[in-house]
Symmetry: C2
Subunit: 110 residues, 2 copies
Amino acid sequence: MAGTSHRAAPEHTHPDEVPVLTALAALADPVRLTLVRELAADAEWSRSCGSFDVPVGKAALSHHFSVLRAAGLVEQRDEGPRRVNRLRRAEFEARFPGLLDLVLRPEPHL
Amino acid sequence: MAGTSHRAAPEHTHPDEVPVLTALAALADPVRLTLVRELAADAEWSRSCGSFDVPVGKAALSHHFSVLRAAGLVEQRDEGPRRVNRLRRAEFEARFPGLLDLVLRPEPHL
DNA sequence: GGGAGTGTATGGTTTTCATCGAACACTCGG
DNA sequence: CCGAGTGTTCGATGAAAACCATACACTCCC
């Protein structure tokens, strides 16, 4: 049958239930910042967890995604053997207006 | 004569030279968040470092202000024996539009 | 059903960061 | 010149967080 996954669905937190401090802490990490940026640059649900170019092992990567979910930044869905991601642009923007733009904006020269 | 201080002037960093990651990290701490908020609630140069209601000793407090200066969030000036503070609203807003508003805005109920 | 691919969970190590206590520097008022 | 008030610096401590290697769970395809 369709839609049947015998795998535990990932726990999500809606941005509305996220404290500012949690959101800031989630974004204040170079690896997660990269994840969010790469995620924003591609189509929704197009990137699996392993498809990101970050210098950490799978275990750490999995943890980072867990943090991003808890901060309401990322939504995940199981698609066959892989877990694909989506940046929760609209919802997160509604909760923290401008924050995402800020972090996605190309860094002005220092 | 006036304006003569035999004390080392605090090192400041202009918001324009601050990476996003540094700004986020500076705000992603409960004590510093309180400092910024209290600072925003009062007139510029009206608050000395010791006048904030945070549950840490002077040493830690001094360190937090150092982080806030490095993030371009706070400017300090020596005024007699005390060091008074100013939130760099305009400059920081120009560099990171909306970020201060976000953190100063009262937290919606969770 | 076996094996490859993908992601999570666990346990332990390392690093980072917030914190404190104590010592020091500076300013001001007696 | 001394003492109180204020803030920084230093060294050490403890907690939090990032990380890795391994082992495990699930899905798909042959």
